[in-house]
């Protein structure tokens, strides 16, 4: 009788890391500099010239982008890939890719945008057939369904 789900109280870096369901056996919320990734990315200081990029990132690729090397949950969903683009002196964009191969792929875009809306506290500021754009503090968050089962979220500072 499987009535139970065991939850492990995650290391409480923040109230957002309340619990990780153990039977999921998956990653927890991505924490950078002691904050959930979403908050870190919303902080103006993150995008300032010379700001450090903490966490387990790869060495820069030819285009200067770095890839997060550990599993991560962002906006409540496990990300397939997290990349950080940088110019010569600062971070310019985070790019989070979500992929779903099961039957839940049909609702992936809805679930991703639900998570973003929950974080920002607002619906999308603009939405078209191809993307939803959110504003949060000094950042823009753009979610684009690439195909069924794949969604890209780009986070960048608003000038």
């Amino acid at each position: 009788m499987k009535f139970f789900l065991a939850f492990v109280l995650g290391v409480v870096f923040s109230p957002m890391a309340w619990a990780i369901p153990q039977t999921v056996q998956g990653p927890g919320a991505l924490i950078l500099a002691g904050r959930p990734f979403e908050q870190f990315a919303s902080d103006r200081a993150t995008w300032a010239p010379g700001a450090a990029l903490p966490g387990a990132w790869s060495a820069p690729a030819a285009d200067g982008a770095r890839t997060f090397t550990e599993p991560a949950v962002i906006f409540g969903l496990p990300a397939a890939e997290v990349r950080a683009s940088q110019s010569s002196d600062r971070l310019t964009q985070f790019r989070v890719v979500y992929r779903e191969t099961g039957k839940d792929r049909r609702t992936l875009f809805t679930r991703v945008t639900q998570g973003i809306a929950a974080f920002t506290g607002h619906p999308a500021t603009s939405e078209g057939k191809d993307a939803k754009v959110f504003r949060h503090e000094k950042t823009q968050i753009r979610a684009t369904p690439v195909r069924e089962g794949e969604v890209i979220v780009e986070i960048m500072p608003v000038p």
Partner: protein, 394 residues
């Protein structure tokens, strides 16, 4: 001088947050004032004279590390301390059902040996403090019938609970007579109108329009397959039954860290009977019925489908609402409803301890930590994702 000594003791306790020695408090009541003042207790985010607080620092008693220590407080004074020396669920951790047999075969004998050693050692300590204890049998129902040893010494009462090969737990009571009773004093009156008034008085209407039960205990389940029994313990403690998560786990037969072949439904019914309550259940969450239960001071327990993404939505909204009570959960449209875990998703138990009918929200708490108290969800989502609901009443 007395205050200086107390300050030194408290200072020593707080300075060594890594480990707190509860042995003085386990030996004599006059140590409880210092323990109550120490900065080792969780801070329940609820308004009540009666609070259940968990010791957030590692603790030892009689020279042994404990699995957990919790305190029942009344107006800041400790009324009871619950010390879990050994619990099967905590020792094995969460074990998937299909691994139970292997784990039982490989680690079971080691645990059985540890159980025997721990039970004997704790009993020796108590025998030395209070003489040979008085063995009593608790529980009127087969599922929760168990033996305990009652002691009286140092101005306090003590109940040593031993579930064979499962649990070694010591509960200390400010009022010695309470050690031999499963119901708290306010619940022992055969006239039900008194307890009914006490329970109803715990319900508060907040400025936001929330109707909420104050003082609900939050018992962290930790890395244990205990969400169902922790939720039960939270609800039953609110109703004055002095059994804990670990007792219900033992009664339900959650062994070797697994829920395989356990008897949770039976234990729910048995717990209600031990608490002098009736409990009705149904395969759906009924908001009207839940409102009636909560208005009477009884939390409702729901078993529901859970997923990580919806949990993120509930978590972030709860944080937002705390900062801005005008924040609204959007009315769910058809696209959102398709994302709810209705037939699939993990099974989880939560305690509903409030509602806001104008906002169409239920307020629920999880057996995770204080931070998971008073979360919020639209009624429609609870109705869609709940597959079993329990409504206790007097």
């Amino acid at each position: 001088m007395r205050w200086a000594v107390a300050a030194l003791i408290i200072g020593a306790i707080t300075a060594q947050a890594q480990e707190v020695d509860f042995t003085p408090g386990a030996r004599a009541l006059d140590q409880w004032e210092q323990l109550a003042a120490a900065r080792i207790w969780s801070r329940p985010q609820t308004q009540s004279a009666r609070l259940f607080r968990t010791c957030v620092a590692p603790a030892k008693v009689f020279g042994r590390e404990t699995a957990s220590v919790a305190g029942s407080f009344e107006n800041g004074k400790i009324q009871a301390l619950t010390i879990v020396f050994l619990d099967s669920g905590a020792w094995f951790g969460y074990v998937p059902d299909d691994q139970q047999k292997t784990v039982a075969a490989t680690k079971g004998p080691q645990f059985a040996k540890l159980y025997a050693e721990t039970a004997a050692a704790v009993r020796r300590e108590l025998d030395a403090l209070g003489g040979p204890g008085r063995e009593v049998t608790f529980g009127a129902t087969p599922w929760l019938k168990h033996k305990a040893v009652i002691y009286q010494y140092g101005g306090l009462g003590a109940r040593l609970t031993l579930w064979p090969d499962q649990l070694v737990k010591l509960t200390l009571f400010r009022e010695p007579a309470d050690a031999a009773q499963l119901l708290e004093a306010w619940r022992r009156n055969p006239d039900r109108s008194g307890p009914a008034r006490v329970l109803a008085a715990n319900v508060r209407t907040a400025a936001t329009g929330d109707r909420i039960i104050d003082g609900l205990p939050v018992f962290p389940q930790g890395d244990r397959a205990y969400c169902g029994v922790s939720a039960l313990a939270m609800a039953m403690r609110a109703a004055g039954l002095t059994l804990d998560t670990e007792d219900f786990a033992a009664g339900a037969g959650i062994r070797y860290g697994s829920t395989a072949k356990s008897h949770i439904r039976e234990v729910y019914t048995a717990a209600a009977r031990e608490a002098g309550l009736s409990i009705s259940s149904g395969p759906r969450f009924e908001f009207t019925r839940a409102q009636q239960s909560i208005d009477a001071g009884f939390p409702v327990i729901v078993f529901r489908r859970w997923d990580q993404q919806r949990d993120y939505v509930h978590t972030t909204f709860t944080q937002r609402f705390a900062a801005d009570p005008t924040a609204q959960l959007p009315r769910p449209d058809a696209a959102e409803q398709k994302t709810w875990p209705i037939r699939e998703g993990f099974m989880h138990a939560s305690v509903i301890n409030g509602y806001n009918s104008a906002r169409r929200e239920v307020i629920f708490s999880e057996s995770w930590a204080e931070a998971a108290r008073n979360r919020r969800m639209r009624v429609e989502e609870m109705e869609a994702t709940c597959y079993l609901a329990y409504y206790p009443r007097l």
